[in-house]
Symmetry: D2
Subunit: 359 residues, 4 copies
Amino acid sequence: MKVSVHKVQMNAPNDISGLRTVIESGQILDPNSIVAIMGKTEGNGCVNDFTRGYAVSSIQNYLKSVVTTPVEKDKVEEIVMVMSGGTEGVLSPHLTIFTVEEALMSSPNEVAGLTVGVHHTRDFLPEEIGTLAMVKVVAEGVKAAMESAMLYTGDNVHFVQIKCPLVTSSSSSSTSANGRPVTTDSYKSMAYSRAASALGAAVAVGELTLDQITNGTICADYSLYSSVASTSAGVELMNCEILVLGNSKSSMSEYVIGHSVMEHALDTASVERAMPSNGDKIVQVLAKAEADPTGRILGCRHTMMEDSDINHTRMARAVVGAVLAGAVKDPMIYVSGGAEHQGPSGGGTIAIIASKKKE
Amino acid sequence: MKVSVHKVQMNAPNDISGLRTVIESGQILDPNSIVAIMGKTEGNGCVNDFTRGYAVSSIQNYLKSVVTTPVEKDKVEEIVMVMSGGTEGVLSPHLTIFTVEEALMSSPNEVAGLTVGVHHTRDFLPEEIGTLAMVKVVAEGVKAAMESAMLYTGDNVHFVQIKCPLVTSSSSSSTSANGRPVTTDSYKSMAYSRAASALGAAVAVGELTLDQITNGTICADYSLYSSVASTSAGVELMNCEILVLGNSKSSMSEYVIGHSVMEHALDTASVERAMPSNGDKIVQVLAKAEADPTGRILGCRHTMMEDSDINHTRMARAVVGAVLAGAVKDPMIYVSGGAEHQGPSGGGTIAIIASKKKE
Amino acid sequence: MKVSVHKVQMNAPNDISGLRTVIESGQILDPNSIVAIMGKTEGNGCVNDFTRGYAVSSIQNYLKSVVTTPVEKDKVEEIVMVMSGGTEGVLSPHLTIFTVEEALMSSPNEVAGLTVGVHHTRDFLPEEIGTLAMVKVVAEGVKAAMESAMLYTGDNVHFVQIKCPLVTSSSSSSTSANGRPVTTDSYKSMAYSRAASALGAAVAVGELTLDQITNGTICADYSLYSSVASTSAGVELMNCEILVLGNSKSSMSEYVIGHSVMEHALDTASVERAMPSNGDKIVQVLAKAEADPTGRILGCRHTMMEDSDINHTRMARAVVGAVLAGAVKDPMIYVSGGAEHQGPSGGGTIAIIASKKKE
Amino acid sequence: MKVSVHKVQMNAPNDISGLRTVIESGQILDPNSIVAIMGKTEGNGCVNDFTRGYAVSSIQNYLKSVVTTPVEKDKVEEIVMVMSGGTEGVLSPHLTIFTVEEALMSSPNEVAGLTVGVHHTRDFLPEEIGTLAMVKVVAEGVKAAMESAMLYTGDNVHFVQIKCPLVTSSSSSSTSANGRPVTTDSYKSMAYSRAASALGAAVAVGELTLDQITNGTICADYSLYSSVASTSAGVELMNCEILVLGNSKSSMSEYVIGHSVMEHALDTASVERAMPSNGDKIVQVLAKAEADPTGRILGCRHTMMEDSDINHTRMARAVVGAVLAGAVKDPMIYVSGGAEHQGPSGGGTIAIIASKKKE
């Protein structure tokens, strides 16, 4: 198994020129080696952000045009696509493309390399979203993705990206007589879904045990959190799509990943803590951001929660994006909003993919 | 002369509780020792930001209520009030209060201390705003403020804050037959006024000479800039109000100031360069911010100029505010938008007030 | 009793020039005859709208400067001030000033005239806000205001404006061991407070009976509503301030009021239904607006609820403001957002003050 | 020639379910009969509105999937697609689809029917955009479109929709040595392009003569305007795409069109004036909207120009959309922003397509 990472700029949500370049130049020899694409697109990252769907549709159309057989076209649909809206401030729209190629290894590497695993869970009923039932299914799904990545212990997992469903007005009305969704407010259901997914990841990697979690702790007890989860809800699916990144000696990758948490939005030291090891060259930063719900940061009042003109998730991305881009001197990083149970309250998870230093 | 600096939090634009505390507690013994107040208020920092006026009106009402004689009440009106709207991201609403007390000194200090000077220029005609004529008057005004601060060479000047007028629809219609304003667009005239004021400061401190500047270079040739100017336009005045900060051995202040420029919005190293000297404790950071007008930062596309939902000046403050607050671990700093000729294009000026390290 | 109505334009939240004109010109002979001022100010009408407070502070400062005795200055504080933020679209910032003068009447008028009553309730505990307990206290308060307006039956009441409190993070933390507020989310508590206040008004004027209302119906069963209530929540008070407008033969006013409801935001015919009688000249329209919570209007999808860039209350005011201003050809009307239990769901209450046609 | 009009709702920018229904149900028998589609999509209608492109791409993908031959697929690309972003307030996202079928007529109709003509001009150089040169080319193009619609005099033309190019930073840098664009500000160049296009239409239909127009009158003398033009600029083309609607006795259409102008945003009477004739049933309203640039409407101040949180074009659409939807009781109408030289200043053009009353 040989895992590679390609990062390309986007000039618009439908701009596939960067993807085309890495394919036409042969950097990606086989488009069907792509297993996942994570992107930042330039919408508002909130309910009426159509840049995510536009990007996915543009990428799929392009990839289907460069493969030849119907089987290959079907495989394009299976690529895990995680588009995160919102490039506020200095954040720069881009795609991070993960490829996996078969590779023969005579013996395990001395230094572990980046490995990738994906899994699609079953569909959820509206009344399951944001509940303990979802936590359990996600936990199993993350374990399955870990296995496909040859990651057999949670210690080697550094990032778990989960795309999860939400309760829409149409789906909530179709719930069975037995069940009622946690909330019928679409925007809120996104938070519950992200929360349950994050807690599921925490269980899978061993950060929490299932008996610590009840329906009452979801979106309530933020002392329970995962240090590796990054979850985002979207209207376009009813199941969870899971992408696990970690390090394995069975991987021939020249890349490696590390992680940490940001204790708060200005925690610049988290970058150093998340570095896989000294001397590596940072390729990508993956982080979650949120406006501190207490309304204070480092003891001072912030106004993000009371600004009725700009959604606080937008400002949180601008802040954490600027802080991390300033630290690594690269604005083409992945910072996504809504960090329920993903890192400490007011902070968030952070992972760094680096290319290994040359010996 | 003894200059002191007090920084207090604001819970709303009309919240004078912090100011009241420093007065009632005796930290400021005489309200009439206040010469200038710089504040960050929580409006949008753009045209319809009424938080600036509300703060000024609330502060003046309060100060007039704590002094006793009519002469003292009149002196309240003379305090230079620079309210900058916009506390996007982590920026925390606050006031920085400068006081000057008479003090006897037997001999000059070994180490120079913070000194403050103020000056009010004459009113400008609408057709002068943003022109070479304004540059000249401002240059003379800054020199006058420097003298009142006992700063006789530009080298010792580290920060020149100028509040300047703009062209309104009513003022532009009253222009004489001889003259036409540079622009009749109010929003644009703010940029021209800030630009001419900044260039005036550059001339006063010797960074530029008058013959380098023509009407054609204002808001056009951004290779010409001041490293100490911070200018902001407001509808409430037709003259310029100037506040100069520098260091002088004739000042007994326990504070000291330094400055530098940010080369770009992510220039975290600028903080170290702006430090007065090693070991000092940072009290306040004063910086200007702008979205890089090329649409790129560190070679990557940013989307601030094309976001029609959020004004780019708001995002620029969020970014630079987060970067600097992250560097000094204090969100109660002064970051203001619109940096024409104030530091390099895409960057801005930065000054740091510190309390001297104890020997 | 002689009730008069004055409408003046505002050029900014702190612009009192219109008020000054009606006082200095003698249209209002005695500033202490002012009992209530309703205004539209140009903020966002949401949480961080400081134009309301700025307007109130500016008006109070001015009125205190034109009266002479301390008793009169105290009376200024008692004027009911209802500032509603948000002049989206064509809505034009203005003040509507209500004055009451003593007047001798030999016999009741043939045609009833405009009458005004005010009442201040007791303060509410945080845990009472938005509950049945609040409904009861408001109902009694509205009845008291009606009596002071010489309105002894609900039939003659056409408009009940109530300014009500909300639960803030500080107030919610100070609740007693016995009680918990309905919600600790400040923004939501505004809706609950408006809702309970509107239902209280409905009880007072006989539209509903107390036994129709439970804690469970508040903000839930919108088939229960008042046709005369207009309520708005504000952080600056813990009690309710009530202004009742109606018609009475005991009033010598040359003005008269009528009301109706808008069935939906495009219900232009509501203007005619709300007219006191044919031939009257419209002086002021007072209406409530909301984005239809079903997401549809006249069978078509609207996008106000999903627009994460602009709050739907802002768009609702723009829509209803344009529809009513287009109908009466006057943009200086009072349209306020958040219409829970105030008119049918998706619509709102509407009242029209007119000057009686000359016989 | 038989012209038909179909109006279908959109649930999202990429929702083609309405279009599919009219095709699968046989209301549109031949997809290749579609000559033009005008749509309202739910973006912000400003620079970073990607909903327009997403809709066009989704529609084209769908139409290409339902036709069979390569020639037919090519014809899909020729359909004039005018997507206008911005469904503020009650405006409801939808598509208006124009089809033209061959039809045998023994003799001209007694009553003229709706007719449609399209034309694509040559590409413009960046330095031509917004100039007299563009006016001339557009005038010829509109005449060509009129001829293809069998409209031989301007009297029978009621609506001229033009999609026009703008100056981008890349295109402006590629201008020849001889020419410089009117402006290098992309947002402003949109206004100049719309203006020159509107004036070109005015010349073609005989409202203005070419000698009334100079480069100096474009975007300056708004007393010169067309009563039938509706123009919108987009980054995706360098030529103009023209759609002309009018009435002709040679058309067998059961539809008919009329037009007028709105004198101001609250001109509700314009609907009646624009009606083709009494008794017809309104099918679609097509109107242009702008915030009155004087800052006043019906003598009262509006705040749309000074609101730095919401672009005034968004509010203008909300206002005119509400006023017209209120008048015709249909929120699924076409209201587009930016009305330079399209109707009187502060107002705009309005056209109404109706189905003829049955005899």
